[in-house]
């Protein structure tokens, strides 16, 4: 059985450290920026830029998704699918 995800909270500064380790930075408005492409990260669900306050940072190879319940539910479903296959 694959390891189940555990949810934790980080401070904004801790999130910035983690993001920087994967070439992301945060602009003055709090948007997460791909430092290599110089582009905002856009939520697949809401089509809005992901911010330090709204994003969920998921470890592994660091996945950044919107933290709204629907996005998290979709993530959990897709993880179950992967584990089942």
């Amino acid at each position: 059985m694959k390891e189940q995800i555990k949810f934790e909270e980080l401070t904004d500064d801790e999130k910035k450290v983690l993001l920087s380790a994967f070439d992301y930075e945060v602009d003055k408005e709090g948007n997460i920026i791909d430092a290599l492409l110089k582009e905002k990260i856009i939520s697949e669900i809401t089509r809005q830029p992901l911010t330090l306050k709204s994003a969920a940072l998921i470890t592994g190879s660091l996945k950044i998704i919107d933290s709204n319940p629907l996005s998290i539910s979709r993530y959990l479903r897709e993880e179950t699918e992967k584990n089942d296959s």
Binding site: F7, E9, K16, S67, S73
Partner: protein, 257 residues
């Protein structure tokens, strides 16, 4: 503090503790020259464990645990990995927040519901969320489960689920505390006369009294002999709901509607 000293300090720490150490020491940017080894150490720790860093740990842990709910699991076994299960999961979260009450939770419920309503097809999607908050999820999933037992395939069951959701007012009847027994009987009789495959009658609190009396009268009059009848109390939603469900026997043979 040199990168080597930092590396030594975080070497045996778990990822959250290592991040806390770096943040406390104002080392917020690991792309700076000379910090490559620290950056690699953080990447390595990130790859080790599956953790979701989220704004609200309790809310997301609750979402994860919805997977343990009997009816959520049942929906998953009937329609595996169906995208609507995301909305059912969110429905459980909203029901949980409603049960907890308080201004913050009420505000959160408004935010979540509004984010779903604003999505394309939001009016339909919020109905799926409401399935859980009203407790209606129980007879609906029981019905889908019965179809599965009768060996209908997932595609057919998904079509029927869609049909029930799209025409929700036809299939579900929520009795108000002020509704008279006579009116309940008339409405059920009309639905029976139309050979509806599924008739679900829901009542909360004091509305349960006149509903059970009305259903008892319907059963006594023997006008629902073509139907299976079942009644249940469930607490899947915000509050306990009583459901009376009539299922057209023919609907399992594919000969109706």
């Amino acid at each position: 503090m040199t990168p080597d000293q930092i590396l030594l300090a975080i070497k045996d720490l778990q990822l959250p503790e290592a991040l806390a150490y770096l943040a406390a020491n104002k080392i917020l940017n690991l792309t700076k020259k000379g910090f490559e080894s620290v950056r690699k150490a953080i990447q390595k720790k990130t790859a080790k464990k599956k953790v979701g860093f989220v704004p609200n740990k309790d809310e997301n842990t609750f979402l994860k645990r919805v997977a343990e709910r009997e009816y959520f699991r049942e929906f998953g076994s009937i329609l595996p990995n169906h995208k609507y299960s995301d909305f059912i999961r969110v429905g459980y979260l909203i029901a949980h927040l409603n049960k907890l009450g308080g201004q913050n939770n009420r505000q959160r419920v408004i935010e979540i519901r509004s984010s779903i309503c604003q999505r394309p097809n939001g009016v339909f999607l919020i109905k799926i969320v409401n399935l859980v908050t009203t407790g209606a999820v129980v007879p609906v999933i029981d019905y889908l489960s019965e179809l599965k037992k009768q060996k209908y395939d997932s595609e057919h069951i998904a079509d029927i689920f869609n049909e029930i959701m799209l025409d929700w007012k036809k299939y579900a009847y929520f009795v108000k505390a002020t509704t008279k027994m006579k009116e309940i009987i008339t409405i059920i009789k009309r639905k029976v006369a139309n050979d509806q495959r599924l008739i679900m009658i829901f009542s909360y609190g004091s509305a349960k009294d006149q509903t059970t009396k009305a259903v008892a009268q319907i059963l006594k009059d023997k006008i629902t002999e073509a139907y299976f009848y079942e009644s249940k109390n469930n607490k899947e939603g915000d509050k306990e709901v009583h459901s009376s469900t009539f299922t057209l026997i023919e609907s399992f043979n594919g000969t109706t509607e």
